[in-house]
């Protein structure tokens, strides 16, 4: 599986080993972390939830697309679900390849597509005690604003 979910902390050392290849000259990874603010609000924790059956299929399609578009060796994406605190890692993408250029490009492609296409949602909890589903609450307040 080149795209998967985990309920527990992402083990990047283990994930990285899955990318090893004698023909690879290096690897690029991206880690997405929980930060303490978003759109002017102080964030204290996040909850991630996914429609896993479809999310895994769509995630696999994205990684397969990346492997077709860029001449890289291996690629893998792991996403957390559940409750995460500040600085916790929400997502990890890793790509190994013969040369660095395509590894950077493929890694960027995968994280961008995952953020756009995979049915994963996050609820932010704020210091004020308020909370909200990212990309949903504001839309609800202003219908007609469609998402790509």
């Amino acid at each position: 599986m080149r795209f998967r979910f985990t309920q527990t902390a992402i083990d990047t050392a283990e994930a990285r080993r899955e990318l090893l290849d004698l023909g690879a000259g290096g690897y690029v990874s991206f880690e997405g972390w929980v930060r303490d603010h978003n759109e002017g609000q102080e964030v204290t924790r996040l909850e991630y939830e996914a429609f896993q059956e479809l999310a895994v299929k769509e995630g696999e399609r994205i990684v397969a697309d990346a492997l077709r578009r860029f001449p890289v060796k291996h690629a893998l994406c792991i996403h957390r679900v559940g409750t995460l605190g500040l600085n916790d890692m929400a997502v990890w993408v890793g790509v190994s390849s013969a040369h660095r250029g395509e590894a950077f490009e493929a890694c960027r492609f995968i994280i961008d597509e995952v953020k756009h296409r995979v049915p994963i949602w996050k609820k932010e909890h704020y210091r004020s005690g308020d909370s909200g589903w990212v990309n949903c609450e504001r839309c609800a307040a202003a219908p007609g604003h469609a998402h790509a």
């Binding site: 479809l54 997502v91 049915p119 996050k122 589903w133 839309c139 219908p143 469609a146």
Partner: protein, 79 residues
Amino acid sequence: MQLKIQYYALMREQAGRSEETIETSSVTPADLYGELTARYGFTLAREQLKVAVNSEFSEWSRRLAAGDAVVFIPPVAGG
């Protein structure tokens, strides 16, 4: 016909449940969303959503069949 509906994120909270089996005369996912919005007061417009039938993205105009599993997909926010 009977359909199975699963709800996620904001829609799960607004429906007050994560899944249900309903008896409906809605023919398409678009009709079904209208029916369920009347019932639960969903705040998202259909244009903001995608829909999945049997765990694959679907057109809103698809003809639903008995036993289909439908999921409405609010704007995503992974990463």
